[in-house]
Subunit: 618 residues, 2 copies
């Protein structure tokens, strides 16, 4: 017999409720997902994060699992919080979804310099105002399309089918004529009157955790608006492998992932259009980059085999499709250009990073590190170019960290450790959690202060040697070692913010993945630190971290500081270059073909390098 | 204040009901259509047919309008029937939709000889069984698509995007390999295992009144199944001009027309697949013909301007689209080929008739007449080729005739008039109404018997000169002249079947349209009857009519009988030729360009010719 499970789906009120039958043995998370209720499960429902926590408001609260205790801590457990992924009630209960530590709303990045000035602009999107001689005599055998084609010097076959429906009205409504938009030998739009100055495009970077959409004006290259959002697929798994596992051989789940990313992109498009006053129908070209899995899911391609050895992608070539085929709400015949892919875990985003950093030019051997949930490392010069994946996981984006959050208002983004822990928050508002750059500073500071040793252990046993204020922050609660970053009330924090031993382990795993990727490429290419001309830090997170802290924890090699440089969100910048310049987009194909993929797991020396990189530099 | 209108929507029971507020002045038909209730209005709601009749079952029956009396007759008016298009109730009433005279169900045409043997078969659709070497090693940089392309000797860019989603599974599920379908240099499908013998296509003829879909096996050309249905757009207007008027500058109505035809085509596809045991995913090529308006609406193109001088089409060139773009449920990347158009009222169906009749070959000047609601006439030889439209209206398909019906079981299809009227019905079942061929025989017989004179008047005044049985059938009821074809009970008729004076006028209009089209082309081309090598009768109706009757009423010129020939549904046969042969499909472009459109209304001599053709030959 089934048990009634009531879920209060609004974390902020008891208003919205859903009643479900609960099959014995089925977790609340699974029951909720089956019923189409969004419950975030960043770790993929493995009890490894807090994102799916619920609060029991009626019925017996089940005894806490080890996962509950480890992830939620005593206080939350006492208050009736449990992980939905670990809990399978056996009697009728009512639970309320708990608010996440952070709002997953749009982050408006605002207009920026972008890549204008770095490239000779020739987006391929052209608009011209023409007067079309309409059919006038019955005995003339012609048609609207033929007259249009004559007016622009093309043929009827060049008119994209999506243009046909509205053509007769457009041709007859404005004596000034019509504006014809062409791209790659096709007529993509016919608009009444003169709209020649309205010519826009989008550069989209679909990351595992973060999706960034940027609107550009196509003649000046000016960046008009840019938004960054949490990838809503995160609900079904925070890292790539749990995302793939969710979709594996499960078409319904694949459809969920697909629907979510398309839905988010359309929200982002609406948002950048609203912010800039641009109509979405004036967007005629879209360049999309992303890792292989994100790319495949956006196209509705089953990514199952990307997650299985030998991790081969379904396709690697650059693809151009009408926007309507991808359900994107821009001009229906706008062209969506997906840049090419290198390998199963080195995607179009890596190609875009190569484009933006110009790493394929010159004699100097350089390194580009794109830090993200599914990061990538590139090393090379004009002679040869290598790349590997560096799956850091979501730790640097705040995922799977007890009090982690993305870089939004209230996030601790800078930390100094001297005789105490001092923090700075984004927007200088009350502290709500720690984001990646703060986490790096914190761990680096704790290493220097001997609160954490080179193996990553929080030094509870020797805390008496610390300055008094710092000493009081190092605690053992049950069996868990913690550093109290902020007590409730400090820096306006509404509750205590701690760094747990497990958080430190997550940082070690994340930085180990990236550091060992860098080390492996140096090893394969035979480029010791002294021969690295430059190390470029890319990615949303890469721009905010402190280079000192990154070197201190061993995330990147200890090069002279003048040889380390921030290069911004290079994946998005590479997409912008391809948006503004067809030559750059063509170049992406060459670059993708030149990149040699180094498969880490398959390399005999990798295991030792990875183990070494897990530790902190002494 | 609004009046409640209750509509019993099932003509056969009082079960299904809809309650609507009725705006004063709004007809029942309009209120029903606004509420999404299907009420057939063959004449477009102009009180010119009986298709929208309803029966009042509660509330006051309004006084009959002239339209009610003329169309429905005294008996039905007494029984409470009214035309929904003429009646705007002012108080609460309940009406029941009346069953049409005929069921609009599928007519299974069955398998036929078709065009196999008339053409060298080369459909362009090829299937091959290949074994694809899957990516095996992590360090090999390749992908499923690249390996597939190598196996078939093509490039990744040749793979249609719709193939990608299912590719990884297909490549891995059957050790026998995969079957790759190609057409026009593109890979349209990849199926697991050996399906090379499963290769099918569709020829679709979208007529104003009748839609015919035929399934062919693409290697033999064998016709496996064919279905014919009433075009469900007829609900919104029986002839082209009322159909265009319905959609004119009204995107919501255009969408209704579009949805209906797509829905019907998918029903027909399901039906031919069911009848033949073919899976719809094995259909890779579809050839569609139809008149310009049907063609535009199928593509979602606004046909408003096709209905306004100078009646120019929006496009005329041949178009090939993926089936998914047209929402047709065959292989998603199947190619739908729309044949080219000649002019606003000479469509792809005329081009298909030219293909099927080979009228563009040889020195003999021949005439092809496609008889349909929107008929077309072609005249020519290898030297020159002319065409005009001949808008007969739906009379020959049973529309706008008091007791008219389409050629289905129970329809009177043959009539002899001697000392009485003798009938034959389709299926030799009880007589339910008169179809086109019966109507022609009836009018021809009545002309010979002097019941109708050359001006079309039913000879009530001189009926005493007729044989007694015939005399009793010629009546004056009120002011309406009628010939009683069957009294209730005769030939099993459940009710009286009459031919009214207005029915004779409809026949005159219909035959006048076609006859004047033929006469005009002969006039323009300078080809008197004696020089007409052959007259070919095409179209669903053209195949069933009696040539003797057609000549007697002046539908076609009085040529020696051996020079008049039935050529079947030539539009559908032309589509089948293009389906089976890419050479024929290419030829369609040449033929379309060669056809010279003769615009009847614009020609100074047309009016006199049309008036002459309205009368019957003396």
């Amino acid at each position: 017999m089934s048990v009634r499970l009531t879920i209060l789906t609004d974390p902020r009120s008891a208003g919205a409720r859903r009643e479900l039958p609960l099959t014995p043995g089925l977790t609340i998370l699974r029951a909720a997902h089956d019923a189409g209720i969004d419950v975030t499960a960043t770790c993929g429902g493995r009890g490894r994060c807090t994102s799916c926590r619920v609060k029991f408001v009626a019925g017996a609260v089940p005894p806490p699992t080890i996962g509950d205790e480890v992830q939620l801590g005593d206080e939350q457990v006492r208050e009736g919080y449990r992980l939905a992924c670990q809990c399978a009630p056996t009697e009728a209960v009512t639970v309320q979804l708990a608010p996440p530590l952070e709002e997953a709303a749009f982050q408006i990045l605002g207009a920026g310099a972008g890549v204008a000035g770095r490239v000779s602009i020739a987006s391929g999107v052209d608009k011209q105002l023409v007067k079309v001689a309409l059919p006038r005599e019955e005995h003339h055998q012609t048609s609207d399309v033929e007259e249009l084609a004559v007016a622009v010097g093309m043929t009827p076959a060049d008119v994209a089918p999506g243009v046909l429906a509205g053509l007769p009205a457009a041709l007859r409504e404005d004596p000034a004529g019509v504006t014809v938009t062409t791209f790659a030998g096709r007529i993509l739009a016919v608009e009444r009157g003169d709209t020649t100055s309205m010519r826009f495009g989008l550069a989209i970077d679909v990351g595992t955790t973060t999706v960034v959409t940027t609107l550009l004006e196509l003649s000046s290259g000016e960046q008009l608006a840019s938004v960054s959002s949490l990838n809503p697929q995160s609900v079904f798994g925070g890292d790539l492998m749990s995302r793939i596992a969710f979709a594996q051989f499960n078409p319904a789940n694949l459809r969920k992932l697909h629907t979510r990313i398309v839905g988010l992109l359309n929200q982002q498009i609406a948002e950048v259009c609203r912010a800039s006053g641009v109509l979405s129908k004036w967007i005629y070209k879209v360049v999309v980059v992303g890792n292989t899995c994100m790319h495949h899911v956006l196209l509705g391609i089953d990514p199952s085999h990307v997650g299985l050895a030998p991790y081969a992608p379904v396709m690697r070539h650059a693809l151009t499709l009408p926007a309507r085929d991808l359900f994107l709400k821009v001009a229906p015949e706008a062209r969506v250009c997906l840049l090419p892919i290198v390998a199963g875990f080195v995607g179009a985003d890596a190609v875009a990073v190569a484009l933006a950093t110009r790493i394929y030019e010159g004699d100097t051997r350089r390194i580009a590190v794109d830090i993200g949930t599914n990061g990538e490392v590139l090393l090379g010069s004009a002679a040869r170019l290598w790349a590997c994946s560096a799956p850091a996981g979501p730790a640097f984006e705040g995922g799977q960290i007890r009090h982690g959050m993305r870089g939004a208002a209230g996030a601790i983004d800078r930390v100094t450790v001297d005789d105490d822990v001092r923090v700075h928050t984004i927007g200088e508002t009350d502290a709500l959690g720690i984001c990646g750059s703060g986490l790096l500073d914190l761990v680096a500071g704790l290493l220097d202060a001997d609160v954490v040793d080179w193996t990553g252990l929080i030094q509870v046993e020797t805390r008496d040697a610390l300055p008094p204020k710092l000493r009081e922050r190092v605690v053992l609660r049950g069996e868990e070692r913690q550093v109290i970053v902020l007590r409730a009330g400090e820096a306006g924090a509404p509750r205590e913010i701690v760094l747990t031993q497990d958080d430190v382990r997550q940082v070690q795993l994340a930085k180990g993945a990236i550091a060992s990727g860098i080390a492996m490429l140096q090893h394969v290419a035979g480029v010791p630190d002294a021969q690295v001309g430059e190390l470029m830090l890319a990615g949303g997170f890469g721009n905010y971290l402190s280079i000192g802290s990154a070197v201190r924890i061993g995330l990147i090699p200890d090069l002279p500081r003048e040889r380390i440089r921030y290069v911004g969100n290079a994946a998005s910048l590479g997409a912008q270059l391809s948006l503004l310049s067809e030559a750059e987009r063509a170049l992406a194909d060459d670059v993708a073909r030149r990149i040699e993929h180094v498969s880490l797991a398959a390399h005999p020396d990798f295991e030792q390098i990875f183990v070494d990189c897990m530790n902190f530099p002494r």
